[in-house]
């Protein structure tokens, strides 16, 4: 199905070096993200997964290569990166909710200040999103009053409040107690079912298998193998992927 869909993000020969090329966090990554895809990125620690994801919305500035979003070069000086980031929601490992604002304000501040939504409209939208993740009764609470799983669900709907076209997830469940992983994955699954385009860095192989449409295996800053979850998990080709899967499964 995904092969005929429109390409949203196109990445070509992406490179990111640290310390004058001594550390090659990304060493030539090329791939396309199509509309409606759920791309799961896996790989050992330090393989460049976060760097790849964070390059997509220029939280890291690549050393070389190109990234286009809906056909526009995102690194071109004429591109308004702030406008572009509004179309790419991002969810972090450590939630990064704004601790000085209520949950409701966390979710309405960006739509109000950036999209010019009125307070009523922004709050109505935020409340319906909170309803979707079962946290409507916590709207007036502060982040410190929530559990980790609740925080991450809020972080997801905070990003959704900007109506992004793509959602980027960087290990959204890695900082959670095991019993809270499920509630966050459920929200992500529902999001995928609703047709959201997603790029997820995760160690949750069950999630990759169940909702992923494509799995990318990275090592040493390169894409080593890329295929449907079914093929990756039942018929891995590369030796490094095989030994990685042996360790995590």
């Amino acid at each position: 199905m995904s092969a005929d869909n429109k390409v949203i993000i196109s990445v070509k020969d992406l490179k990111k070096f640290y310390n004058d090329g001594e550390v090659k966090a990304l060493d030539g990554v090329t791939t396309d993200i199509r509309k409606g895809e759920v791309v799961v990125v896996i790989g050992p620690s330090g393989s460049g997964k976060s760097t790849f994801l964070r390059s997509l919305n220029l939280l890291e500035r690549p050393t070389g290569g190109s990234i286009t979003f809906e056909g526009n070069d995102i690194m071109a000086p004429s591109t308004d990166i702030n406008k572009l980031r509004q179309k790419m929601g991002m969810v972090f490992q450590h939630f990064n909710l704004f601790p000085h604002l209520t949950i409701l304000r966390n979710m309405t501040i960006a739509p109000m200040k950036l999209n010019g939504l009125s307070k009523e409209d922004a709050e109505k939208k935020a409340l319906s999103l909170l309803e979707r993740v079962g946290l409507a009764d916590r709207a007036k609470a502060y982040p410190s009053q929530l559990s980790g799983g609740q925080k991450q669900r809020i972080a997801i709907v905070r990003a959704l409040a900007m109506d992004p076209e793509v959602m980027l997830f960087d290990e959204p469940t890695s900082a959670l107690d095991p019993e809270m992983v499920g509630e966050v994955l459920d929200v992500m699954k529902n999001l995928a079912k609703a047709g959201m385009t997603m790029v997820c860095v995760t160690h949750e192989m069950g999630f990759a298998r169940e909702v992923g449409t494509r799995v990318i295996f990275m090592d040493c800053g390169r894409i080593i193998e890329e295929n449907t979850p079914d093929q990756i998990f039942t018929n891995p080709q590369n030796e490094r992927l095989k030994s990685f899967l042996q360790k995590v499964l």
């Binding site: 990064n96 000085h100 200040k113 609470a141």
Partner: protein
């Protein structure tokens, strides 16, 4: 803890407690207000403290207790003064004896000589006013300068990689260097020297000593405030900045809506401490002839040739002010710690 809903209504015991702490606060305030009437002040204070001992909880109760203690001290002083000076038609003989003994005691003779005759207490009162005036405006100037310098320096640190060069970057580089020089010079020289340079060199033609002092202490304090605020900005988790940027906020708006409010909250007690430090620092203003509290005491000393009373009085006044503001800061700190973060 996190799953439970917020308590819809406080339990009866809790309600009782808030009522009691309100009562403690009211008694505390009354004890200060009535401290001129000796017994009344002490009665209210004792009531407040007794209630507090039974029920030591909450900020209001703490404030009430401290006010009650202040009330007791004022009451005792007021009672002594009234006992000795309150005009009576037929004072009992024991009181008359005490009064006439007191009037010839060396303490009273010294006291009268230093503070009462020729209205010398006015040096202290006016000086205190000047000290507060200079400190207040210097703090405002210091915070304004400090915020600007802190923003320039931390903006430069974050933006030097992101900016693509050109005029904007050059300007920021220039201001960053300027701020660096300001911090080095101000923190590397004594404040008295800075004060004298501003008065005798830069403002040699003007005689507005208060303005000069405000400028000198404001500029000086700005350098320290800048580092406090920069520390506050740096103490905010990098993830907060990234979350703001990833939502689509630019650098300036991320700072304004997300970083600065959190940083400010984090450094508020340190800023309040800067005010306390400055109250004491302004005591060197006498070097340029500004008659603030210390200079006021010193003038009395030079008139009466007795050093003990005026200088001890000045010291006690500083001590009381500093203790009072330190107490306020500790309340503020606790308040911030308790509030949602």
């Amino acid at each position: 803890m996190s799953e439970q809903n917020k308590l819809p209504a406080p339990e009866p015991a809790l309600l009782n407690k808030t009522k009691k702490s309100n009562l403690i606060l009211v008694f505390g305030i009354l004890s200060v207000l009535f401290s001129i009437i000796p017994l009344a002040g002490i009665v209210f204070a004792v009531l407040a403290i007794c209630l507090f001992v039974k029920n030591r909880s909450g900020m209001k109760a703490e404030i009430g207790k401290t006010l009650a203690m202040i009330g007791i001290v004022i009451s005792i002083i007021a009672s002594a003064v009234e006992l000795l000076f309150f005009p009576l038609n037929n004072p009992p003989s024991w009181l008359s004896a005490i009064r006439s003994d007191f009037l010839v005691s060396s303490f009273w003779i010294d006291f009268e000589n230093n503070f009462i005759s020729e209205k010398r207490y006015m040096y202290i009162l006016k000086g205190l006013g000047v000290t507060f005036e200079v400190t207040f405006f210097a703090v405002l100037l210091g915070i304004a300068l400090g915020v600007v310098v802190a923003l320039v320096r931390s903006s430069y640190d974050t933006l030097k990689e992101e900016m693509r060069g050109g005029f904007g970057k050059g300007l920021l580089w220039f201001f960053n260097k300027l701020c660096g020089v300001y911090l080095t010079v101000i923190r590397g020289t004594p404040v008295v020297v800075q004060l004298m340079i501003i008065y005798f060199v830069i403002f040699a033609s003007s005689n507005n000593k208060i303005l000069v002092a405000v400028l000198a202490f404001g500029i000086n304090s700005g350098a320290y405030v800048a580092e406090i605020i920069r520390g506050g900005i740096m103490s905010i988790d990098k993830g907060q900045f990234e979350a703001g940027r990833s939502l689509g906020f630019g650098y300036v708006r991320t700072m304004a809506f997300i970083i600065i409010p959190q940083a400010f909250k984090a450094v508020l007690p340190a800023l309040a401490n800067e005010f306390i430090v400055l109250i004491k620092e302004t005591s060197v203003s006498g070097y340029v002839g500004l008659q603030e509290l210390t200079k006021g005491g010193d003038i009395i000393r030079s008139r009466t040739y007795s050093a003990f009373m005026p200088l001890i009085a000045v010291a006690i006044i500083y001590l009381v002010i500093v203790m009072f503001f330190s107490w306020l800061v500790s309340l503020l700190e606790r308040r911030l710690k308790n509030s949602e973060r």
